[in-house]
């Protein structure tokens, strides 16, 4: 379950559907597990009437966590050495997310990946990079 440097080429991609029709319940689960109880993620009344957003929205770290699943499925368990992202747009309940890793370089037993997660409208919600050990 790991990648071989000799079988990787720059431009190779791996994509996965992360979630379809994101539910508020999943956002609540993430709040509970992570300890980030900011009400803008779980409290529709507060978020629409006080914070001024159209709806609660996902933690950026939920999107990063879900995108991490695509990465570990691709590179193998325990192989990641670096993973960093920017949150470029908010993720709302009902969103369907797809994440893609693209090989940017393979050197000295390390694959460098570009990472992008988009919603159902093709809007990028997360952009980042990752590195992993390969055989």
């Amino acid at each position: 379950m790991s990648l071989k440097a000799s079988e990787l080429s720059v431009g190779d991609t791996h994509a996965e559907r992360l979630v379809e029709d994101l539910k508020r319940t999943q956002i609540v689960m993430y709040a509970g597990a992570s300890g980030d109880y900011n009400p803008v993620h779980t409290d529709e009344v507060f978020t629409t009437e006080v914070a001024g957003y159209p709806s609660v929205f996902a933690h950026g770290m939920l999107t990063m966590g879900m995108t991490g699943k695509m990465l570990t499925n691709y590179v193998g368990d325990g192989r990641l050495t670096e993973y960093g992202v920017r949150f470029t747009n908010q993720v709302f309940p009902g969103d369907t997310l797809t994440a893609t890793a693209t090989v940017a370089a393979v050197t000295d037993g390390i694959v460098a990946l570009e990472v992008s997660t988009v919603n159902q409208d093709g809007l990028e919600v997360l952009k980042g990079t990752a590195k992993a050990r390969v055989d």
Partner: protein
């Protein structure tokens, strides 16, 4: 975030993996995990964030017997009527303009696993400003957190960038 003692626990890893929709048995099944390269259960790559649970002063958690959490209760803001408030309310995050998470980076020196007793120290990094198209002036600030095990070995380095916006992010 700086946390004096972050015990990495199997059930916490299981719940965290469920919350991100990751059904990989390496996050909950000891027997399966023995057959994998790591040789045991490990934590998902973003698990360091859950150390917030062990920060006694975490600003994004309502405090037991605390006052002033601004999620909705009787009123949408959660604020109590004047006169019922105790001194020193407050609470984390949210707000009209407010703090949002802009960037996050992790360096894995090794992966966290159940049984680790970690501690972390945080130091401020860079700060910078930008004029945002959809939310007014943006103020970014970086924080670098090092998670070490009980032998003092570095496990994960986490860099978080927060942004404060002048007003809520315009939609569309």
């Amino acid at each position: 975030m700086a946390v004096e003692k972050f015990p990495v626990e199997a059930s916490h890893i299981m719940m965290f993996a469920r919350s991100i929709g990751d059904g990989n048995p390496i996050y909950y099944d000891d027997e399966y995990a023995k057959s994998t390269e790591p040789g045991g259960v490990i934590a998902p790559p973003t698990f360091a964030q859950a150390s917030a649970q062990f920060d006694p002063n975490h600003g994004l958690r309502p405090k037991i017997d605390g006052d002033g959490w601004h999620g909705s209760g009787g009123a949408p803001s959660g604020a109590k009527p004047r006169g019922e408030r105790k001194a020193g309310g407050g609470g984390g995050g949210g707000g009209g303009g407010g703090g949002l998470h802009a960037e996050q980076r992790f360096i894995y020196h090794r992966h966290m696993k159940p049984g680790d007793i970690l501690s972390s120290t945080s130091k401020p990094g860079k700060t910078w400003e930008k004029q945002g198209r959809r939310s007014g002036k943006l103020v970014f600030s970086e924080s670098v957190t090092e998670y070490r095990d009980s032998n003092g070995e570095l496990v994960v380095t986490a860099t978080s960038v927060g942004v404060r916006t002048e007003r809520p992010v315009d939609q569309g």
